[in-house]
Symmetry: C2
Subunit: 362 residues, 2 copies
């Protein structure tokens, strides 16, 4: 398979599209946790009960999906290889825990992978809408519409006082987690983010690395999401998150402008060095690659380097993950093997671009 | 001036030629310290006496030089700008001290700069022969021939017991310093050189950095020369130095082979990263540039990278020195300005090459 074909298959179609504020917000995600009445929660269920739940959901939704979301693809987890499962994690379509172990778990996807659903994860259903750039309201509208449609076919476990009932108490209420993936290299470099993060937490928001809970920030990418799901409406949660993200966007943009104004040459040096290393190394670890990709993306945004597609950071941050590398290599790889393959993939990918010096957006 | 023209003017013609063992020995230098009878040593002389010495030497040698060494160029130091003087230092044609301050000092050069002479440095005459690669005997023969020719026109201060009398007692005797510039990246990387150096000192040899006494080693380049000038014949000094250098060449070559055998991928990674940084950085300090140039040169020698001229290390190590950069810029530069100009010069120089992957010489 050629690299172009591999990338075209590997990258979710929605990731290739532009979105609002996508110089800083890579993507927006809305996730709803839902459970069905009269079925035990997946955490305490037997294989048989889990199978019954899957069958119930599949029968109600699979034949009618076209009317609402177009054709859905149903992927039972036990039909997938370990690498295929990990690819779903790396595309943010399943959680790492779910890929490792699930009773009768399945992933349901629409054609461009903007809409997906896990069945038999921590909750019976985890509905997810992904969109490029900063699109909280639009994402929520899609998720809500999908939720309504699903609810018209199954009966949700719902309590008038508490709201949606969920497996883990932290999700009770709206069952919603809204999150935004932000690229904040200027706030990291100037060490402002360390001071901002405690304030963000106090506002009831959580900041995580690129692969969710417990994952380290890579490539200066941060996932910002609501902590609370109870006692607030979906609209309030969205509005509060939007307010904080807008402030972060503004601060990141101002800081980038300041950096460019006072340190253009130093910044250009870093950007071009990162390009030089990515385009030439023979071995590269995921963390180092992430840092250089972040710097390169910043250089593209600030017009310090030209001729490289803007979404190269998003694309390569996904492609350099272990499972993708193994899929590309068509074999299992050791950690050393992955570092070598990662360098090759980045090098080959950058050869498809035609870089030039930039003028600097001043 | 185009970069090609600048380089062609800046690099001594002899540096462009290949030489024996020039994968490891960059150049060989023979220096003879000579003083004339009936003139006070330069260190204790007056301006008038220094002028008289210069006049005496110029009259005896300038008209007759063609018969022996071809046309000689006489460059009185007070006719040169600070940058021009420093260029002579960076080409190893004068000492840093001499460029800074001298009474009636002058540099005499032949056409390809293999033969040079300082007048009124620490000694009345410092004769120097430079050759590419490892050519101790050949270099000594040239220096000796030149010395004989000069002696046929002037009267040296010579003592039957002590030999040639010199300004500094450490040069009395043969007045000869033979030195070899070696590129020893494998011995440095494997930390063998630290263990070898004390043994080399015990054999009466001195190891210095690229710009002589007190200078730090840059680009893994080391100058190895004799310490003693008294009590040994020129031939003995040459033979002892040759023996040690041959051993160092063998150890460096063996270590390179071992590194390639066991760490080819890691080595290729370093070589290509060094290329990537040199070809892309916008700011680079002399020390960092030296290290990357050394790694790149090792990669060329080991066939890990192709399409780059082998003598790029020698050439660029000279060109990235402060005075050359200022000559290239046609203006005086601050340290920051030099770091920027250095990066530009290296980048532009590497654009003239057409790099390819190498197979690795296994």
């Amino acid at each position: 398979m050629s690299l172009e074909q591999f990338i075209s298959n590997a990258i979710s179609p929605w990731m290739k599209n532009p979105g609002p504020d996508d110089d800083i917000v890579m993507s927006t995600r809305i996730r709803l946790a839902r459970n069905l009445e009269d079925f035990p929660f997946p955490s305490s269920t037997s294989q048989d009960a889990a199978r019954a739940l899957y069958k119930h959901v599949y029968e109600r939704l699979s034949q009618t999906s076209k009317e609402m979301v177009g054709k859905l693809i149903w992927l039972p987890m036990d039909g997938l290889s370990t690498i295929e499962k990990t690819v779903l994690v790396e595309k943010h379509l399943t959680s790492p825990q779910f890929a490792k172990e699930s009773k009768q778990g399945a992933v349901v996807l629409n054609n461009d992978e903007t809409i997906s659903m896990m069945v038999n994860e921590e909750d019976h259903l985890r509905i997810q809408c992904l969109s490029p750039g900063f699109q909280l309201s639009e994402g929520y509208k899609s998720a809500d519409k999908l939720d309504d449609w699903i609810e018209s076919h199954v009966t949700y476990a719902f309590d008038e006082k508490k709201g949606y009932l969920t497996s883990c108490p932290t999700n009770v209420g709206t069952g919603m987690r809204a999150s935004v993936m932000m690229h904040l290299p200027a706030l990291v470099t100037t060490q402002q983010l360390n001071r901002i993060l405690p304030a963000v937490s106090q506002l009831g928001l959580v900041v995580r690395g690129i692969y969710g809970e417990g994952s380290e920030a890579r490539g200066n990418l941060f996932q910002i999401s609501n902590q609370m799901t109870l006692g607030k409406s979906e609209e309030d949660i969205i509005e509060e998150l939007r307010g904080v993200v807008l402030q972060l966007i503004e601060r990141e943009r101002n800081t980038r402008r300041e950096l460019l104004k006072h340190n253009q040459l130093q910044l250009a040096d870093q950007v071009h060095r990162s390009y030089g290393i990515l385009a030439n190394s023979r071995i590269i670890e995921s963390k180092e690659a992430g840092n250089h990709l972040s710097t390169l993306r910043l250089g593209i945004d600030l017009d310090l380097i030209r001729g490289i597609e803007g979404n190269i950071l998003n694309e390569l941050m996904v492609l350099i993950q272990p499972a993708f590398l193994q899929q590309f290599a068509e074999q299992e790889l050791t950690a050393d093997g992955r570092d070598e393959r990662r360098a090759t993939l980045i090098r080959e990918r950058l050869k498809l671009e035609n870089i030039q010096d930039g003028g600097g957006e001043t």
